[in-house]
Amino acid sequence: MNLYEPTPGQQVFGLHLPDYDELQGCIRCGRCLPVCPTYQQTQLEMFSPRGRLSLLRAVEDGKLALTDGVEDHLYHCLDCRACNTVCPPGVRIGELIVRGRVAIEDKHPRPFLIKFMLRHVLTGAERAALLSGPLRLVQALRLDRLAAAVLRHVPGPVGRRLGELIELAPHPGRPLARELAEVEPATGPQRHRVAFFLGCMMNVAMPDVSRATVRVLRRAGCDVLTPRGQACCGAPHDDQAMLDFSRDLARKNIALFEPLLDEVEAVVTDCAGCSGALKEYAEWLHDDPEWRERARRFSAKVRDVTEWLDAIWPEELTPVHRPATATYHDPCHLANLQNVRSQPRRLLGRVTGLEMHPLPDSHPVRCCGSAGIYNLTHTDMSRELLDRKMADVAATGAEVVVSANPGCLLQLEWGRRLTGQPIVVKHVVEVLDEGLNGQAQGDPRPRG
């Protein structure tokens, strides 16, 4: 074995990843292993960031065929980006794994059903809202409970999983998309103007939370502008290797918000997945000369709602909660991706009556297992991570579990139902909203 043999300078084999150079930038120090949730669960190198990059590199270097195993390992990644936050040479591991998924899409396309849903249903808040009508009808007639009960008695894992999925489905209220006026004026002394980006998930699964967001923003002195015809942020498509599609969605949103950008101080959203993606538009469209500058200008204005409220919170507003212990679960895409950690904590610190107990493994944060559609595609791993998170929650003794992302909230809510823990699960804005309206009794109630 010649230890000083040169590495290939260019790609001869494999996928011709545009990021080959960066892939070679991994020095295999292993720093990312202990923070990777899938590695923690398995202690297997193939389930680690370093392992995933090595598989990609081996394919590129012609040492490994593009097997089903490679695909499986790339999709076992949660895209939680915990690894990115600790990597000494600053390799953007999460992004490289997603690029790898794109590169193998030709030979290993995603399942039809996933693509169909992403292409035709999850394209924007208004479109997605069409889903919630039938869902609400089924739920009103209690057909879902019936189906879940029947499926639970079907022998084998498939029935059980389907039953669980149906139970996991949110019980949404009326969607919000068409209800908001294009301008909702500040209700407190007017100080700011912001544009509101309404995420698909928020709109379908928890429109009442977004109602709270708009109320709190207005109360904090913001005129809230919500342009009609918003597209999905594109994060789920990006995650599932549909890059062309997600880039198109990005262009749509940029074009839609552009006329407002001079007028507003920020583009605000209450979905951490969306705020992460919107901030990445600049990078997504970096190679598109026509859109690069427009995307940069748009992304520069994007703020997660927790980030924005923390920056502008008027001192005279003091939310009040009945005395209770609470804990905050960082959404991966807020903490690991956007480095927004202190802002939501500071906001919660303003709530009189809440005593915050920290969760372990919060920097970088350990994923709760929600991870986009991961909890549907990788139920076992997702469930293991949820179980760990719920055990952590129980150990804090918290009665109120606060987070800032629809995926996390649904997952934690599901965890509550599975474990029967006496907790309520809330978005940061809900706590603030109820605290400002003097209605924070914190009674356990089903979400939505």
């Binding site: 074995m1 230890l3 000083y4 043999e5 040169p6 590495t7 290939p8 300078g9 070679q24 930038g25 020095i27 295999r28 120090c29 292993g30 720093r31 292993l33 202990p34 202690q43 297997l44 190198e45 193939m46 680690s48 392992g51 090595s54 598989l55 081996a58 040492k63 490994l64 065929a65 097997t67 195993g69 490679v70 390992h73 600790v86 000494p88 040479p89 600053g90």
Partner: protein, 459 residues
């Protein structure tokens, strides 16, 4: 590998713990160096009995076995250079016991070093060995490489904390060595042979470590020395004054500049050496000692001394050292880090020789290290895509090792010999001693199945 052997292994430890999948072989083909070689099979033992079964079969069938912890090693120790079995010990990762009355802990080899430190800190105790890879490396790997770290000057290396070991040797016999006491002279110190043996004599399956009380406080000073020799002398002066510092970290000019470019901390970049000194102990003593240290640093020729007066200021001074690793990562595409150790008085001369080697081979070399214990990390910056550069890197690495030995030092202070420094053992180690080392290897591993091609320069 013969499918019958694979089947035998599967039958012995369970099919789900034995893998020959192409992806798995790729994922177990490397360690913290840049070299790669795939094993023929990966085994994930859960118990000592699993390990014993693997070593029994491998010995009988003459199949190489390479123990692997977290694969952070910097000498290629965990590379399966001769193929065979990669034995992944990361899954044996339970802390078995933290015994407060006896101030010790018993752990499985795959426990991550930081996890052990955190677990004992909850009880007010301290496990001092602190390799910079503490977040990710395993105790088993630490024992096998006798890992050190910045705190070694005061607290010693991994081996200084090992009270007992359970090891499995080729053939599958399980040896219990040492015990739960600090003093132990019953028989020969076989345990010592396994510490730092880089997985060539036996597989460590359980480790008993000694704990000490956690010092209450820590305080830091940072000094800028126009002359590197003065920084080395300063460390001697501090020791002479009766203070044993916790760390004495050196950064040369190029290293400091890299950190400064990366983090903009306001470090002086126009001096030859930056020296970070920390002391620990109870709060009063620490305050007194750091003031004393600051005076000595100034008297020894420091142009500027920053002395922390609070824990917070202390943290700020550490900032530079903490960012060293990411900062130097950004200097070049590839790096080869050496790990020589020379007597402290020889550090200035070693640094001068490094400058010569850098010039002669036309390669940038930056230097940082731990002055107190003479351990330097000259790091060669390079680009692996360029064959000509890589030939010069090989030459420069050889020159560095030779210079260290010539100055009365050693090839490696803490990273180990592995494959990268193996060929230099003939020059770096006394010939008679080497012969006895070969005898020890043959005693425990007569068929040379355990991590063959490592450490000792014989095949």
């Amino acid at each position: 590998m013969d499918p019958r052997i694979i089947k035998e292994l599967r039958d012995a430890v369970g099919a789900e713990r034995v893998s020959t999948a192409a992806e798995d072989l790729v994922a177990y083909a490397y360690d913290g160096t840049w070299a790669e070689q795939q094993p023929d099979v990966v085994i994930h033992p859960q118990t000592t009995a699993d390990v014993a079964a693997v070593l029994r079969i491998a010995d009988a069938q003459r199949v190489p076995v390479v123990p692997r912890g977290a694969a952070t090693g910097l000498a290629g120790g965990a590379l399966p250079v001769a193929g065979g079995i990669c034995l992944n010990l990361a899954r044996m990762n339970r802390i078995l016991d933290i015994c407060i009355p006896d101030t010790l802990a018993v752990v499985q080899p795959g426990v991550i070093t930081l996890d052990l430190q955190k677990a004992v800190e909850k009880h007010g105790f301290f496990y001092p060995p602190d390799p910079a890879s503490v977040y990710q490396c395993t105790i088993g790997g630490n024992v096998a490489t006798n890992a050190g770290g910045p705190r070694c000057l005061k607290y010693g290396v991994t081996g200084d904390y090992v009270l007992g070991l359970e090891v499995v040797v080729p053939g599958g016999r399980v040896l219990r060595l040492g015990g739960r006491t600090i003093k132990n002279v019953s028989g020969y110190n076989l345990m010592g042979l396994f510490i730092g043996s880089e997985g060539t004599l036996g597989v460590v399956t359980e480790v008993t470590v000694r704990l000490i009380p956690k010092p209450a406080a820590q305080m830091t000073a940072l000094a800028a020395f126009p002359r590197l020799a003065d920084a080395c002398e300063a460390v001697g002066n501090i020791l002479q004054a009766g203070v044993v510092p916790l760390v004495t970290e050196l950064m040369d000019r190029a290293t400091t500049r890299a950190v400064e470019d990366f983090k903009h901390l306001g470090l002086p970049t126009d001096v030859d050496a930056l020296l970070l000194v920390a002391v620990d102990g109870d709060a009063d003593a620490v305050t007194r000692e750091i003031a004393q240290v600051a005076v000595i640093l100034e008297r020894s020729g420091a142009r500027e001394v920053r002395q922390a007066r609070s824990a917070q200021e202390s943290e700020a001074l550490w900032e530079g050292r903490r960012n060293l690793s990411p900062a130097i990562q950004r200097l070049a595409r590839n790096k080869l880090g050496e790990d020589i150790t020379v007597p402290r008085s020889k550090i200035p001369e070693m640094v001068a020789r490094l400058a010569d080697i850098s010039r002669a081979n036309d390669l940038p070399i930056i230097v940082y290290g731990h002055i107190g214990d003479g351990n330097l990390h000259p790091t060669i910056l390079c680009d692996r895509r360029d064959a000509a550069i890589m030939r010069r890197v090989e030459q420069a690495a050889a020159d560095i090792l030779e210079a260290a030995v010539a100055l009365g030092g050693t090839l490696s202070g803490e990273h180990g010999i592995g494959v990268f420094k193996r060929d230099h053992m003939l020059r770096g180690v006394d010939g008679n001693a080497l012969a006895y080392m070969a005898g020890v290897k043959a005693l425990f591993d007569p068929h040379d199945i355990l991590n063959p091609g490592k450490k000792l320069p014989f095949d």
